[in-house]
């Protein structure tokens, strides 16, 4: 299977504090991989290192064969990143924002327009795209940002808490969108607190706590391995070393 992401012994320290203690995992092409763990577990730090926002203090991660340490600028060509609780420029219109971002990712004007058209179709905001983002609801902003994150058809879309703070219908719509895009071959690296969402969305999960990746596998594999009914119990047993 073609690997979109290979994380090898990735470490990050802030002074004496080790936030991520040498974690390794892989994400295949068209796969949805989710990192689960409580706040402060090291999920966001790991994601930010792969998104080239933070420099690792050890190890490396390869995105489509490009090292985040050696060639972060090449990695940025292959990824898009959607931070947790991200906003957008309130004075821009939705369509203006999509055009602005497309122009930053794609040099060719024609291709940039194709990206915008794709995002317009994916976000489903219709005429509201011509309104200022400041007037959008949280769900609308999230849909806009998600469509922005996938419009360039990156090799790897990194989504930190993709449905946080959304109502049931909006969250469901976004999960379906992610599933469809993965089926088209796009790889996803997610983090989430929502176990139901993880079970529904992800092909494989990694359980992370205190900067250590304890175990990876499909939801079914993990439940069978730890003889539990849900992922929360898997987490409990995995971090306890059972």
């Amino acid at each position: 299977m073609e690997k979109t992401l290979q994380v090898c012994d990735l470490k990050k320290s802030y002074g004496k504090k080790e936030a991520v203690k040498g974690i390794s995992f892989e994400v295949d092409r068209g796969e949805i991989f989710a990192l689960i763990g409580p706040n402060g577990a090291g999920k966001t730090t790991t994601i930010r290192m792969i998104a080239t926002l933070l420099g690792p203090t050890g190890g490396d991660a390869l995105v489509s064969g490009n090292s985040v340490v050696e060639h972060p600028e090449r990695v940025r060509q292959c990824i898009t990143y959607l931070p947790d609780e991200a906003g957008a420029y309130k004075t821009m219109t939705g369509i203006g924002y999509l055009k602005f971002m497309a122009d930053l990712f794609v040099r060719d004007g024609q291709k940039a327009q194709e990206c915008v058209d794709y995002a317009v179709q994916k976000c489903g905001l219709g005429d509201r795209l011509h309104d200022k983002i400041g007037s959008y609801s949280r769900g609308m902003i999230r849909k806009l940002l998600l469509s922005r994150a996938v419009m360039t058809r990156p090799d790897l879309a990194i989504l930190d808490e993709p449905t946080s703070g959304l109502d049931i219908l909006n969250a469901l719509e976004i999960r379906r969108m992610i599933k469809d895009l993965a089926a088209e071959g796009m790889s996803f690296l997610l983090s989430s607190h929502n176990m139901l969402e993880i079970e529904y969305l992800s092909d494989r999960v990694g359980i992370i706590d205190k900067g250590i990746l304890h175990v990876t596998g499909t939801c079914r594999e993990l439940k069978e391995r730890y003889n539990t009914h849900n992922l929360e119990e898997v987490f409990e047993k995995a971090v306890a070393g059972a």
Partner: protein
């Protein structure tokens, strides 16, 4: 380059809003209005100086002749009854805030064998502490006129033919020298011109620096808060493009602001401008800024704005939110306020060497000193100032580029007294948030 242009366009749109333009226009209009107001207050004061509310309690042929002479000298005299008990109330009836009273016995005291100087009582109404409030209440010209008329009459009574010569046998012709140029002008007028320059230009510079700082700090902090900065930093664009687009956009907006301010300031000075003769005399003293000098001062002002922007970018990167941003801008304020007040009350070049070096180490001092140094021919100091500011800017810029090129732009922060446990996310259960 295309991506940089896209970023620059976005930054300009964000910074140059209708609200920003509105505030520029308001500031320029404020200068115009201030000039108009000061002009009208000065004109009113000059007009009122010729109007006197006077109560002649002595009421003798002599005091009546003095009052007639006063009227002939061009004064409008509102004369009250000698029984008038409230001079201020009487003055108020005639729109004046001061009144003069010639007390009973005034003539007798002057005409007696052992004549003594006599007193005229002057009553002033104080209603506010404003400088302009005192302009309309001064009756010094009228008192001087009465004194002159009285002394002429006394000298005439004593048989002096040329009373004017006896009264003022020595007259002064005042000259002022500035940087080797000499002109026949009172140094008090030169001081007055220079103080008007040293009062207002620093205010314009101060406002510009504070505006530019707050604009860039808000831009950085808002991007960090909304996490749009993270999106930009993970996009395939040069990190320096993000930094330079913000710098150039803020610099351009500040330039527009500076132009509007200077236009307003020009309007203010035109309203306040003195006579052509005085202008020519000041010019002959070299106290006139030439076009090339204006250009150099403009270059220095732009350099000052760039320094303020780079320092603000470095400080803004430390702030977590808008509240913290208001705190981090304080060092910039202090760096502006210290030289501003020193330049207002003292000549930096006359300070002891250690103090002078310390004040000149603040890059903004050179901007406040630009006009005095230009006017007084201290070209060397002016160019050393520009050179120092350029070096200071380059150092700050290198630091800003390093900051944007590393992950410190996201990790560096000051909590300003917040407890660590509160600033960080609390550790919650898997389902909790």
């Amino acid at each position: 380059m295309k991506k940089f242009a896209v970023l620059l366009k976005k930054e300009l749109k964000e910074m140059l809003t209708l609200q920003t333009l509105f505030s520029f226009v308001i500031c320029a209009a404020a200068f115009f209005l201030l000039g108009n107001f000061m002009n009208s207050v000065t004109e009113t004061a000059a007009e009122n100086a010729g109007k006197i509310a006077l109560i002649d309690q002595d009421d003798t042929p002599y005091t009546r002749s003095v009052i007639d002479a006063l009227k002939q000298s061009g004064f409008t005299v509102y004369q009250g009854e000698k029984t008038e008990s409230d001079p201020i109330a009487f003055a108020g009836k005639h729109g004046r805030s001061s009144a003069m009273v010639i007390p009973q016995g005034f003539t007798q005291g002057l005409m007696a064998d052992n004549a003594q100087p006599q007193k005229i009582k002057v009553y002033d109404l104080v209603t506010s502490g404003a400088i302009t409030a005192s302009l309309g209440s001064m009756d010094s010209a009228a008192v001087e006129a009465i004194s002159r008329i009285t002394s002429d009459q006394l000298l005439a009574m004593q048989g002096v033919k040329n009373a004017e010569l006896a009264r003022d046998p020595v007259q002064t012709e005042k000259y002022t020298q500035v940087s080797g140029h000499t002109a026949q002008i009172d140094s008090a007028e030169v001081y007055s011109f220079l103080s008007s320059q040293s009062m207002l230009i620093p205010i314009v510079v101060f406002l510009l620096i504070v505006f530019a700082s707050q604009m860039i700090i808000s831009a950085i902090v808002n991007e960090k808060n909304d996490k749009t900065l993270e999106t930009l930093l993970s996009a395939p664009i040069q990190r320096t493009s993000i930094l330079f687009s913000k710098m150039i956009a803020a610099g351009l907006v500040s330039l527009v602001n500076a132009s509007v301010f200077m236009f307003g300031y020009g309007g203010f000075m035109n309203q306040m401008d003195s006579s052509d003769l005085k202008g020519r005399l000041l010019s002959s003293l070299g106290l006139q800024i030439t076009v090339p000098q204006y250009v150099l001062i403009g270059v220095q002002l732009f350099l000052t704005i760039l320094i303020a922007l780079t320092i603000s970018i470095l400080l803004g990167s430390l702030a977590e939110d808008i509240k913290a941003a208001q705190t981090v801008v304080m060092p910039v304020m202090a760096m502006v306020m210290i030289p501003y007040f020193i330049c207002l009350f003292a000549d930096v070049n006359m300070l002891p060497t250690a103090a002078k070096l310390l004040v000149y180490a603040i890059p903004f001092t050179h901007t406040f000193m630009a006009i005095p140094n230009t006017l007084f021919g201290n070209q060397m100091l002016f160019f050393v100032g520009i050179g120092y500011q350029l070096v200071f800017f380059i150092i700050c810029m290198v630091l800003a580029v390093k900051l944007f090129s590393s992950d410190k732009i996201l990790t560096l922060k000051i909590n300003f007294g917040k407890k660590r446990a509160v600033s960080g996310k609390k550790r919650t259960g898997l389902l909790g948030k």
